[in-house]
Structures are given as C-alpha cells and as structure tokens.
Amino acid sequence: MPTTLKIHVDQDKCQGHARCKALAPELFELDTYGNAHEIGDGTVPDALIDKAWLAKSNCPENAIDITES
C-alpha cells in the first residue's frame, strides 16, 4: 500500500525564519507576519519529497512535522 507523506507546521514553534519557504516554496505559504504553514492539507507529491525533508532539516525551531500514512 503506497504511503502518503504529509507535512505540518507547528504554529506554536514557528518563528518565521522562512527557511521552509525558501527551500520548498511549492509546499509552504507565509502569512502577513511571515510565519509559515503547509499549503492545503500538507500532502507531499512524490516529486517534492526531497524538498519536504530538506525544509524540515533546515528549520532551526524544529517546527515541521512529517508523517507517513
């Protein structure tokens, strides 16, 4: 059964470093304060899996969760 990767930005941890937006603009959006959230329900297309992990590993606040389902 194929797995789906989903990203989620923890709003309590996000401080607006915006690394995720810089590295994976297709997956993240910034609000008017410059804080990030996942686009849509956070489902990661196959072609963007590497970028999702890159964004997570570059977040200084460790605010990005990646779950498999």
Binding site: Q15, H17, R19, L30, G34, C59, P60
Partner: protein, 405 residues
C-alpha cells in the same frame, strides 16, 4: 540617572577561560572559535566575574535552553556591560518579555516579510553598484569601509524614510552605542540622546505630513486600548531598527567577503555557480554569525545541569551554538554547499530577528553584485584586517587587492 549604578572592578588578563572568560579580550576579538571549542570540550556553560558576573553557554542545547526560557532569562537587558544602571533603555520588542513582547513584535513583522523585502531589492542592487563604481578602477580598497558598511545603512534608512545621506551620522551613533558604549556610559547616553532628538524631528514632520514608511507605521500603531504607542516605545523601536539593521548585516557581508578573499576555491566556485550563493549565505551566517545577544538571570535555575544564579547576565552565544559539532558535522569547516543547516544566527524562539529576511536579501545581493564585477580579489597584505570588539562581530577594516588572486 541613578549614581548607584553598580560598576565592575578591574581585572588582569585571562588565564582560565572556563571561570574567568572575557569576550573583549584581544584573543577573542581576533579569533574566538578555538576558545569556544576548548570551552565546549570542558563544560557546557562557562562563567566570569568580569562585567558584574556573566555565564556563557557554548553548546547548541544550552543556548536553546536559555533562548526558550523567557521566565528565568529576561530580555530587559540584552547587552553585557561593565555597569548595570537601575534604569534600562527600552527598545521594544528586543527588550520586551512576554506578554508585552508579542504585540510589539507583530507591529514590525509585516514590513519585513520576504515579499515586502523583495520590493527593496532593485534599490539594493543599485546601491551595491554605485558603491563598486567608486573603487573598481583602483588596485585596492577597504571592502568594509567602502562597501559592506554602506549597504545596510542605506537600506534601513530607505525603509525608515530618513535620508540615505545621513548614513555617516548613523554609523557614528552605532559605533558609540555598540562598541564605545560598552565601557563608556557617558558616550552611550549622549549618542542615545542625540538619536532621540534626530527621530523626534522626523516624527514631528510626519504629524504634519504622514508617510508610508516605518516611522509612520510606528506612529500610526494603536495598542489594544486604541491608544498610540508612547514616545519612549516609538523612539526605542526606531533606535532598535537603526542599530539592529546596520552593524549586524554590515558584519555578515564583510565576513563573507573576507572568507571569499581568503578562500579562492570558494570564491571561484560562486563566480561559476551564482545559484549557489543563497546556500553559501546560510553557511556564512552559521560559521561567521555576527550577533551575540544577552539575557539577565531573574531567578535561580540550571542550564544544561549547571547552576545559574540571579544577578548575573548570560551571553547568549548563537555564534558558539552554530559551531557545535553535536549539531553540525564538520562544524569548524565552512562548507558553502552545506545542505542541512538549521543555524541560529538569527536567534531562536520568540526573539527571532525581525530583519532576517532583509539581512538575507542584502547579503545575497551584495555578494552577487560584487562577484559579477570583481570576480578576482584577495587580502591586501600591506594592511591588517581589523575585527570589531564586543557584541557584534565583523571586519571593520578589510583591505583587499582587486583583480588579483
């Protein structure tokens, strides 16, 4: 002003960095990284009685603990000095603790998002080229005094809506506040007073003729009761934006150029692969982080298991955290294509630098434009590189030979 301000007795040169460190020691100023490596091997938190008592966490985990704990570690004092006056000069939000912190910060966030900052990019590119025009025909230049110093000054002046031609005055005040003012209280207070008079003039003009710059943003802000911000808040925030926006970015641009001047392989690679510059900028931010913050210990606690007593300050060394091999493989090497780089040059937690997107844009553009026009350069051995002393680290003199190396 209280004359009961506590001041520090004189000390001799440092012998025991674990128990008696001095971040203004010439050895630290010249090259702090081996000192931190040595400290990290011995203890996660060093201490000194100098500057009225300061702790120095040197591991990523210890720095993180302090940054995230606003209850024990207050931002009401954020610079380590050898006097501790009763009255502290507020500069919201950098000197704010919760709950005052969030509304003060939110006011300043929208003008500094990546999209907002992108609008300034053409002006920054033009400034960089204007600066280069002035020395490109010469065989040598001081890249700190003639290039990196001017870019952030003019950028923040533009955002504040104050004349770029007042840049030299801003630079003087910053030098007085951040360097001379650490040990010379009279100079610090005079500079703050002069800056206040300057900004009050701009505020008065905008009451007559409102503008859409950052000064007007602060003047038009209303607190949760619908009241305008106090003069002290507005002046403190303006002082913060001017100071925070200049010395820091100037240092980061300078350090990046110093690295490229002394590492021709990296310089040549970025000339050949300009798309790599943003990644390299992150590594320069990690390896040459300009900013060390501080906190005041309010209540007894521990950091990384070490006992911490109130009445001390903590030097919140994001630069040392960024060099921790427990988090960064090859932490002591500058790897310009480093893929995983969750560095904390812009801080951690609620006090993440408001200007981080602007700083990144300025650094990227400054390096891009320099390398386009001056792809070959190296240190000019006839003159010395001079690094700043104190809380913000960067080259204050960067003599380069152009067109060579």
């Amino acid at each position: 002003m209280s004359d009961q301000a506590v001041s520090a007795p004189a000390h001799g040169p440092v012998i025991d960095w674990v128990n008696d460190f001095d971040h203004t020691d010439p050895r630290w100023t010249e090259n702090p990284y081996p000192i931190w490596d040595e400290l990290r091997a011995q203890c996660p938190v060093a201490h000194t009685e100098r500057f009225l008592g300061v702790y120095l966490p040197v591991t990523f985990e210890a720095v993180k603990e302090v940054a995230y704990d606003t209850e024990h570690f207050s931002s009401r004092r954020i610079i380590v000095r050898n006097v501790r006056p009763e009255v502290v000069q507020p500069a919201p939000p950098i000197t704010s603790d919760p709950p005052a912190h969030k509304p003060a910060k939110q006011l300043l966030l929208p003008p500094f998002t990546p999209d907002a900052v992108k609008k300034l990019e053409p002006r920054i590119r033009a400034i960089c080229n204007e600066l280069i025009d002035d020395f490109i025909e010469d065989e040598s230049c001081d890249a700190a005094a003639q290039y990196s110093k001017h870019i952030p000054v003019r950028a923040i002046a533009h955002m504040l809506g104050i004349p770029e031609s007042d840049s030299n005055q801003f630079i003087t005040w910053i030098h007085e506040i951040l360097e001379l003012g650490i040990k010379d209280d009279a100079t610090l207070m005079r500079a703050i007073q002069e800056m206040a008079v300057y900004f009050m003039g701009h505020i008065a003009r905008r009451k007559q003729h409102p503008t859409d710059d950052l000064i007007s943003t602060l003047m038009q802000a209303r607190d949760k009761n619908g009241e305008p911000l106090s003069d002290a808040h507005v002046l403190g925030s303006l002082r913060l934006l001017l100071i925070a926006g200049i010395d820091t970015t100037w240092s980061a641009i300078g350090a990046a150029l110093w690295h490229l001047a002394t590492t021709p392989a990296d310089r040549d690679r970025l000339v050949a692969e300009p798309d790599l510059i943003p990644t390299a900028v992150e590594e320069f931010l990690r390896a040459y982080s300009p900013v060390t913050m501080a906190r005041e210990v309010m209540k007894e606690t521990t950091i990384a298991g070490c006992p911490i007593k109130p009445g001390n300050m903590v030097l919140l060394s994001f630069p040392a955290a960024n060099r921790d091999p427990a988090v960064f493989p090859d932490a002591d090497k500058v790897v310009i294509d480093r893929r995983e780089n969750p560095h904390v040059a812009f801080g951690l937690g609620i006090h993440r630098c408001v200007g981080s997107n602007l700083a990144r844009m300025e650094m990227t553009v400054a390096i891009e434009e320099w390398l386009k026009r001056i792809p070959k350069f190296r240190l000019d051995v006839r003159a010395a590189v001079r690094w700043s002393e104190g809380t913000v680290r960067g080259p204050r003199a960067l003599p380069l030979r152009l067109g060579q190396g």
